[in-house]
């Protein structure tokens, strides 16, 4: 199998998916043309990400990276979440096939987009 056991584990048993009804930061990245779309929902309280979920249209790697990324930012500070790199996500998944690299980039972008959305809403 070309995916690591960790990837498959996150793909098959992911639980962080779905909407957050009162999310105050939502990031929408990717496009259907390339086959991967990620929506990241954040609930941020006192600069802390108290809840995070995702909705993903995409392949195994897209779903696993969304799941892992969301897992990694739950309960941490925004400033820390902004520093989460695609590399860190990939490593946490014990690696990704080369041609799936863009999925981890998408997860990073999704989180950044959601945080940006939060700031754009709260600073208004």
């Amino acid at each position: 199998m070309r995916y690591s056991a960790k990837v498959m584990e996150h793909f098959q048993n992911t639980k962080n998916y779905g909407k957050i009804d009162n999310a105050n930061g939502i990031g929408k990245v990717g496009n259907t043309k390339c086959g991967d779309v990620m929506w990241i929902y954040l609930k941020i309280e006192d600069e802390i990400i108290s809840d995070a979920k995702f909705e993903t249209f995409g392949c195994v790697a897209a779903i696993a990276t969304s799941s892992m990324a969301v897992d990694m930012i739950k309960g941490i500070k925004i400033s820390e979440a902004l520093e989460l790199s695609n590399k860190a996500v990939t490593e946490a998944l014990d690696g990704l096939p080369k041609e799936k690299h863009h999925c981890s980039v998408l997860a990073e972008e999704g989180i950044q987009a959601a945080i940006k959305d939060y700031y754009s809403k709260t600073t208004k």
């Binding site: 498959m8 259907t32 390339c34 086959g35 249209f57 195994v60 790697a61 779903i63």
Partner: protein, 388 residues
């Protein structure tokens, strides 16, 4: 693995046990080089001719019109590149379709880089080419028309006889990639009037590594591989004897069992379509309802992606393929699904179910049971699915 759960016969088929049995001795006692002088080599050479005869019977041609190659891909390449190189003084134009196998499309792209011109015909929602378009595409420089018999992804069957007639009326050669059609459909190259036809052993319960090219008697094309005069000078290299013998056996079996297999498999296909469409909302049927291989189903499952579907099915031990970009090596989803007019997202979310000799009611029931919750789970993760 459980063969009941294999739904990817268009990708490859298991070697029939009788084929394996027929080959076995050619790895053991009958290992001799058929080009050698001695008696044992003559026996091997004769067995190759028997295999050639069996394949000739399957498509109704003469044995000396059958040439063995190393794959269906090689047969396609030899037919296309070999023909137009031979005829290059007479023209430089080729007509094919947008939904051909990469073996044809990439051959054409290579030729485009080398001075040839290629017209890629569009297809309709069913995947059928338009015969009027074909006629319009013909120029005085057209050397060859190459249109596949049946498509590997959506199963659409083209009007081969009509295409052959158009080719003949315009004195253009006609090649058909029949890799997915041979062994499933009754094919008579003489009646159809095709000049070149490709088939592949591993799609008809033979073996990987053997392709066949039918080349009409008298037609001269350029080889791709030069050396000793094997295959009447058309394809040099010591023959894959066991593979050829196995392919002959596979052809013999296909002749005998093709019709009863069709009768057995058709209702399984119908059942799958009926039940999946009942149980799963928002499906698109990509395989033609009227001109389709009886073993092939292609659906798009809206709002989710194909590789993810394959992965969850794989976790149930079930094997399928998809036209999603992720299951191939490119970034674009299936060129075939885009050509019949699907949106990118729909093409990414396709599932090909292809049945065959060892498909059973039991396997089909499992598919019908397993697929709906798989779809439901992935849709529940999808931003596009209205969980309302």
């Amino acid at each position: 693995m459980n063969i009941n759960n294999y739904f990817d016969y268009n990708a490859t088929t298991p070697t029939d046990a009788r084929v394996f049995e027929a080959m076995e001795d050619f790895y053991k006692e009958k290992f001799h080089n058929p080009s050698s002088f001695y008696r044992e080599a003559g026996v091997v050479a004769n067995e190759i001719e028997n295999a050639r005869e069996n394949i000739a019977k399957l498509i109704n041609c003469k044995p000396d019109e059958i040439f063995f190659t190393g794959s269906g891909t090689e047969s396609d390449n030899l037919a296309i590149i070999g023909t137009v190189r031979k005829l290059k003084d007479k023209g430089n134009h080729i007509i094919t379709s947008k939904i051909e196998h990469p073996a044809v499309l990439e051959s054409c792209k290579y030729l485009e880089k080398n001075g040839f011109e290629v017209t890629y015909l569009t297809v309709d929602r069913d995947g059928l080419i338009n015969l009027e378009d074909l006629k319009k595409a013909i120029k005085s420089s057209t050397l060859l028309i190459s249109i596949m018999f049946a498509n590997n992804e959506i199963g659409v069957i083209q009007p081969i006889k009509e295409i052959a007639d158009i080719a003949k009326n315009n004195k253009i050669l006609f090649h058909t990639d029949a890799v997915q059609a041979v062994g499933k459909l009754k094919i008579d190259v003489k009646d159809l009037g095709v000049d070149l036809l490709s088939l592949s052993s591993h799609k008809i319960y033979g073996v990987k590594g053997i392709g066949v090219l039918y080349k009409k008697k008298g037609l001269r094309i350029e080889p791709l591989i030069f050396g000793g005069g094997h295959e009447n000078g058309l394809r040099a290299g010591t023959e894959n004897v066991a593979g050829i013998i196995g392919t002959g056996k596979a052809a013999e079996i296909a002749m005998e069992e093709m019709e009863t297999e069709e009768l057995r498999i058709k209702p399984l296909r119908e059942k799958i379509i009926k039940e999946l469409f009942e149980k799963i909302p928002e499906l698109i049927l990509n395989s033609s309802a009227t001109n389709c291989l009886y073993n092939t189903i292609n659906i798009s499952i809206k709002h989710i992606e194909g590789e993810a579907i394959l992965a969850l099915l794989d976790a149930h031990g079930m094997s399928f393929s998809s036209g999603s970009a992720c299951s191939s090596k490119s970034l674009d989803p299936s060129h075939v699904l885009l050509a019949i007019g699907l949106e990118h997202a729909e093409a990414h979310g396709s599932l090909r179910i292809s049945l065959g000799k060892y498909s059973t009611e039991e396997g089909v029931n499992k598919l019908i049971e397993v697929l709906p919750p798989v779809v439901e789970r992935l849709r529940s993760m999808s931003p596009f699915w209205n969980k309302g």
